[in-house]
Symmetry: C2
DNA sequence: GTGAAAGCGCTAACAC
DNA sequence: GTGTTAGCGCTTTCAC
């Protein structure tokens, strides 16, 4: 019933706890074989598992990384969290998954909890939702700086927090969106409707920049305000805004570019519900390349975020963390256009 | 840079660490007001966060619950994990999310890791996938019994592990499937195709029992073997098996009952790809009522698993855990039929 | 009402 | 090569 400790192992093996500790930490080069064997046996017989709290109290890592995301119900966040979990698993770490549920308050509470748990690092996808009534400006960057000063590395990803002196790992949102826009133009779409992300979301802004820039480069007018709708990355919003688009200005565009896949799925659904066809009546494209984009009907043309690479870079940054020289230091990883069947070429 | 400890707080407040500790643990009834105030101020000024590792080493809870699921890429598991996270959050706990990735080996490794982290409890959705080549019989129940003996509560959910002396929280799978079958029969479907779960999955077995029982009760023959396909809960499998069904025996059934939603989504996709219509040509139903079932096209008729109630019960069981009287003790929670638009009535 | 001191399980100087 | 011992940050008994 009572858990065995290092003392129990030492006693059973007839050695000191130091030797057991050395064995556990693989500092075993100068250790006599028969002692090693005795320790190994004792550990096995007792089914001894070293207490990682006690170890970390003595200065070792907790082997826990905290991951704060707006919500794993968004498949992109879920995939990101899972990718991080996967690199952690390989390195012997595990992750505390924290859904802030788009609440800055909850994000802060979790930040506290993770500090108390003395995690070895925090990965933060900050949430900055602007609702109808109030615009949550998101977390105070000073809060993050405080945490870092206390020696816990933070890495930002997907969503940025301006003013925070911590590194970030992002997709090349502007370029990805530009490539997608160019693709739509190349296949003959001259008037494109857009469903953007929240206006205070940085990746959303960058994607929009990429769009406008490409439009201009191709000598096209920036789209009429009526066909740029402000979304919030949710399926429902994509659905509802597309219905609006269809109601208000059905003939003014031939393609819809939703700035994330989840909304693009909603857009396709809205179009189909109105009896129109994707891609024959409207082309629809997204951004993220989450799993569901590949199994939607039709499969969605989109932009891949390099989730695995992002996860690997994030882990690397956490391990390299040096508290005395923490600074802004951003990494932008390549996206890739994924062409599936949600677009129709208008060229003759 | 260096994290403040309880000593720093004590020094700054001009009191002993004992008093600070008492304050932290709300054992404050007999404490003089001005001392309380001084401590509160010192904590605030230093932005002190008690080290939960040190606290738990002295016998308090770690406030961490481990959750092992096959994979959060299955939306049902993701929703379950999130529901658990949510009750934990409210109670000041957080969760270590572990994707076993359908690997019994990884499941075991995580079980070890969670023990080392001295989590206050483990929630396990065991994986028992039978692949094409080998049937993984799943984790050894004795492993679980060992963990429990060491004082860490385990609660099983969704998937059972026979022989493990730990409590379980499940949906009423048999009854839920029976109700769904009855519904299909009531709206005129006499020949129903089935896509089941893995044959060593207990909920899959129970759902199938509910199906066969209801068929019999209504004087219907058990379905031809050709229209019972063994799936694995994945979208792809639902998709592929439905294609098979359509190719081999298109006219022998009017409805498909997939034993989870993810496969039902795959089934709908396969049907639509073949140019047929849901629900006009085939009715399709699922089981789980995951979020995507409500936004599919058409929205899927399915059976709700009472995820929130399950999460609450699981947490309760972990808190009530008494190591000396751990036993099988199962809780079955009510499901509910959710009728949407993926079925057509054949009655005139 | 408050504090001194022991000890949770472990690691790492330091000694031999 | 291996053991003795102090101490990580905290809680809790026991004294005052």
């Amino acid at each position: 019933m009572t858990r065995p400790t290092i003392k129990d192992v030492a006693r059973r093996a007839g050695v000191s706890t130091t030797s057991v500790s050395r064995f556990l930490n693989a500092k075993t080069s100068n250790m006599r074989l028969h002692i090693r064997r005795r320790i190994a046996r004792a550990i096995k017989e007792l089914d001894y598992k070293p207490d990682s709290r006690a170890r970390s109290l003595r200065g070792l890592a907790t082997q826990i990384i905290g991951v704060i995301v707006p919500t794993t119900s968004n498949p992109f966040c879920e995939e990101l969290a899972r990718a991080i979990e996967n690199v952690c698993y390989k390195e012997g770490y595990c992750i505390l998954v924290c859904n802030s549920q788009h609440s800055t308050e909850r994000e802060c509470r979790y930040l506290d909890v993770l500090q108390q748990q003395r995690v070895d690092g925090i990965v933060l996808v900050s949430s900055r939702v602007d609702g109808i009534v109030s615009v949550s400006s998101g977390i105070d960057p000073e809060k993050l700086n405080e945490v870092v000063k206390k020696g816990i590395p933070i890495v930002l990803t997907d969503e940025d927090v301006l003013g925070a002196k911590v590194p970030g790992v992002f997709a090349k949102n502007r370029i990805g969106a530009a490539e997608m826009t160019q693709y739509l133009i190349d296949i003959g779409h001259k008037t494109i409707a857009f469903v953007t992300g929240p206006s205070n979301s940085l990746p959303a802004q960058q994607r929009l920049e990429g769009v406008l820039e490409t439009l201009q480069k191709n000598g096209l007018h920036p789209p009429n305000e009526k066909i740029i709708k402000k979304g919030d990355y949710s399926f429902e919003k994509g659905y509802r805004l597309t219905k609006e688009l269809l109601r208000e200005s059905a003939r003014e565009f031939t393609a819809i570019f939703c700035l994330n896949d989840f909304m693009a799925l909603g857009a396709m659904r809205a179009i189909q519900e109105e009896g129109a066809d994707v891609p024959n009546d409207y082309s629809v494209v997204g951004f993220d390349n989450m799993y569901f984009a590949s199994i939607s009907n039709p499969p969605l043309t989109t932009v891949t975020q390099p989730i695995k690479e992002m996860a690997a870079k994030i882990f690397e940054l956490i391990k390299e963390f040096n508290p005395r020289k923490m600074k802004r230091n951003d990494y932008f990883l390549d996206t890739k256009l994924v062409i599936r069947n949600s677009c129709k070429s208008l060229n003759i």
